[in-house]
């Protein structure tokens, strides 16, 4: 994306860490076994009782994070709502699939089906807000969130609106966990000796819902600037450094201008080889932190990385307990690099205004 003034005015996330409400718990929550589960808030205060009764977990998580984000930005109706989700609403999908099988395609009720469509979270937010504006949902695996973010940023750049709500949500269900485990994605058992040890293959399953209020208006509401978004596909490990340099150059920056790097290590040796390679080269002497020990691995986890970046930009001192290390200077510019299964690579650049 070309240079454009895109600001972030608010952020809210539901994740395995107890960070939904203001004030951190000051301790990092670890996964149980090879799976993280989101810490869910009390939804009743946020979501209308008539709509919540049909909502599955991911719909509640997504809707609550979105509403909280709008509350914090003091925005009633955003100019647009753009969502990213790789898996969509798995729980409802599984319920309806099971009923089709159990009842042999007869006497089926529609609720799980209608709630299973991938645009349900975005649609339910629109319904709750009575928001008739632009509404879109992207479903491209590890680029779902990046697509949504790009769409949102372009809407602002095109002056179609001044404020757009952008977010991502993905859930793990017992069935999806069992299936992805069979694919060899997850560790047989996660040890206590640190998330990023390489004694066993695989990573830890994760999930979460994070929302951002983007604006093209400069002002005191801005908490950070979104400087750039870039995605690339199927790039071999040794070409990633080149991609990072090109991305920074396109934004008239070099690696020396970056104060902090947030890397998408997930604890699987093969997955993380590229980050090790970058550490030895372009990231040498840079402050680098990881984030998946907080949220686990999932296709839209880069939304959590951006959430973390914004917390650090806002108040590095308060948020640094999440990072497993001291953040040793003012964080002005943050580069996030993540890849999902070596196919979906993304770079996000955010910083102080």
């Amino acid at each position: 994306m070309e240079e454009a003034n895109i600001y972030i005015n608010a952020v809210a996330g539901i994740s395995p860490q107890s960070v939904f409400n203001e004030g951190f718990s000051q301790s990092v929550i670890k996964p149980s076994g090879n799976r993280f589960v989101c810490m869910e808030p009390d939804y009743d205060e946020l979501i209308d009782a008539k709509l919540i009764r049909r909502m599955s977990r991911i719909i509640k998580m997504g809707t609550a994070a979105a509403l909280k984000c709008l509350q914090q930005a003091n925005v009633e109706i955003p100019g647009g709502i753009v969502m990213g989700t790789a898996y969509g609403c798995l729980q409802d999908t599984e319920i309806f699939l099971k009923r089709i099988i159990d009842y042999k395609e007869e006497m089926l009720t529609p609720t799980a089906f209608i709630q299973s469509t991938h645009n349900t979270v975005g649609a339910q937010i629109a319904l709750l807000l009575q928001c008739h504006n632009y509404n879109n949902t992207f479903v491209q695996s590890g680029h779902s969130f990046e697509s949504a973010l790009l769409d949102g940023a372009l809407l602002l750049k095109e002056d179609e609106m001044n404020e757009v709500l952008v977010g991502a949500a993905d859930e793990i269900t017992p069935a999806s966990h069992a299936i992805l485990e069979r694919f060899g994605l997850y560790k047989k058992q996660a040890g206590d000796n640190g998330f990023y040890n390489y004694t066993s293959k695989g990573t830890v399953a994760g999930e979460g819902a994070c929302f951002f209020l983007l604006s093209n208006v400069q002002g005191e509401k801005n908490i950070a600037k979104l400087n750039g978004i870039e995605t690339f596909l199927d790039v071999p490990d040794e070409e990633v450094e080149n991609k990072i340099n090109q991305f920074l150059a396109a934004h008239h920056l070099s690696i020396n201008d970056i104060d902090l790097i947030i890397a998408g290590r997930n604890g699987d040796k093969k997955n993380d080889a590229v980050y090790d390679m970058l550490d030895k080269n372009i990231f040498t002497d840079k402050q680098t932190i990881n984030y998946k020990h907080l949220c686990g691995e999932y296709p839209t986890s880069s939304s959590f990385a951006l959430w973390l970046a914004l917390k650090l930009v806002k108040d590095a001192g308060a948020a640094q307990f999440l990072c497993n290390q001291i953040i040793n200077r003012d964080v002005k510019k943050i580069l996030i690099y993540n890849h999902y299964l070596h196919t979906y690579h993304s770079l996000l650049l955010a910083g102080a205004c």
Binding site: I81, A126, H132, H143, I179
Partner: protein
């Protein structure tokens, strides 16, 4: 910022119940041959009771046409076939170093394979072949297609139910206007599945006969399957690829009905906003529209809602209009792509399509759809509507150059 640059459409590709390519589809449209009938490909207890609009080929045959393995999802096979025809139709053999993207859409991804897998998995969670669930995600079909087409710069998938591919086309056009891509293949694909068939059946909105969109006595929709893509080019790409533009995408708008998860508002608020926004974007007056390709599913609810919004905008000068879902069935995530192809052809060849089986005007509406095929008509501007669950409403406008 809004660049004034135009988005040119240089070709299209399609596979649907009425034909496996553009030529076959045109022949069917011309001869009023609908593709709706008893299901032959999908396995379901509703075989004898619910007519569907299937692509008339097994996965094995589709795989040969797509030059892909037969065990991948039917959605990916359908998409690849139509997207290949799109590039061929535009005369694009390679991208000559231009930045190329694939913007696709579908509603249930690889569900056709997942539902087979899941029956086994439910009995024993170590059972079922993983290769049947590996392409479950919606984005997977798009990745398979991009690999087949050699598209490497950008891919994404939109899933906003029945408006998915209109939104994919819309976003693709904006990526060109914002100088992010030069060439965009955009549209959508969806295969019939028991999941969607039973889902719509549970909503009691399936007609047990061939559907009658916009008819007073309509009883519901027929589900269909297929894929439809167009290729959009920037001014620069037209020159580099030496391609001939067929029409432009001159207007688009996405709005939300915000009324109910599945039902459309009686006033058609979302449809109204989408059509009105698209007209504004194109700078056209309603009277400039020569043909509306209706969303026209044939349900009581959609047609009265869409019709009411049309009345609000166009009264008293109604353009010609029809629902080609009376031929192809409702192809869900593919419908906006398939109907974009029909819209392009309408401009290119001066076609107006009939709304099959229409006999009785709806009592709520002062207009009727077209009932006969016409060619050689001066068609300068076509409005195409795609409305979906979740209140997602999108309209596109195609214009002669």
């Amino acid at each position: 910022m809004q660049t004034g640059s135009k988005v040119y459409i240089a070709g299209a590709g399609i596979i649907s119940a009425i034909g496996n390519n553009i030529a076959q589809c045109i022949a069917a449209l011309e001869n009023s041959n609908a593709g709706i009938g008893e299901m032959q490909q999908l396995t379901s207890v509703h075989k004898k009771t619910l007519p569907v609009a299937e692509v008339k080929a097994s996965n094995k045959i589709l795989a040969e046409w797509a030059q892909l393995p037969a065990n991948i999802t039917r959605t990916a096979l359908l998409g690849t076939i139509a997207a290949r025809e799109t590039l061929h139709n535009a005369g694009i053999r390679n991208f000559n170093g231009l930045r190329a993207g694939l913007l696709s859409a579908n509603s249930v991804g690889g569900m056709d394979k997942t539902e087979d897998f899941y029956a086994l998995f439910l009995k024993d969670n170590t059972a079922g072949r993983l290769r049947n669930v590996i392409n479950h995600e919606c984005g997977s079909a798009t990745k398979i297609m991009a690999n087949a087409l050699g598209i490497k710069d950008f891919i994404t998938t939109v899933s906003t139910a029945c408006s998915s591919s209109a939104n994919a086309i819309f976003f693709g056009a904006r990526l060109i206007k914002n100088n992010i891509l030069d060439v965009v293949v955009a549209g959508g694909a969806d295969a019939l599945t028991r999941f969607t068939l039973n889902g719509f059946n549970s909503l009691m909105i399936l007609d047990n006969e061939a559907c009658k969109p916009f008819d007073e006595n309509r009883k519901g929709l027929n589900l269909g399957e297929g894929a439809g893509y167009i290729v959009m080019l920037s001014e620069k790409a037209l020159q580099v690829l030496n391609a001939q533009p067929v029409c432009t995408l001159s207007g688009y708008c996405n709005a939300n009905d915000a009324y109910h998860q599945t039902a459309s508002s009686p006033s058609g608020t979302g449809s109204f906003l989408a059509m009105k926004g698209a007209l504004q974007k194109s700078g056209l007056q309603p009277s400039a529209i020569d043909y509306i390709n209706l969303h026209g599913t044939g349900t009581k609810n959609n047609d009265v809602s869409e019709g009411t919004a049309i009345k609000e905008i166009f009264d008293p000068h109604y353009p010609k209009m029809s629902s080609t879902k009376s031929f192809t069935g409702h192809t869900l995530g593919a419908s906006g792509g398939i109907e974009a192809v029909f819209s392009m052809l309408a401009i290119q060849r001066g076609f107006i399509y009939p709304n099959l089986r229409f006999t009785t005007q709806m009592k709520e509406l002062p207009f009727m759809p077209e009932t006969t095929f016409a060619k050689g008509v001066e068609v300068n501007h076509v409005l195409s509507n795609s409305f979906g669950f979740g209140g997602n409403c999108s309209s596109l406008i195609f214009s002669k150059i």
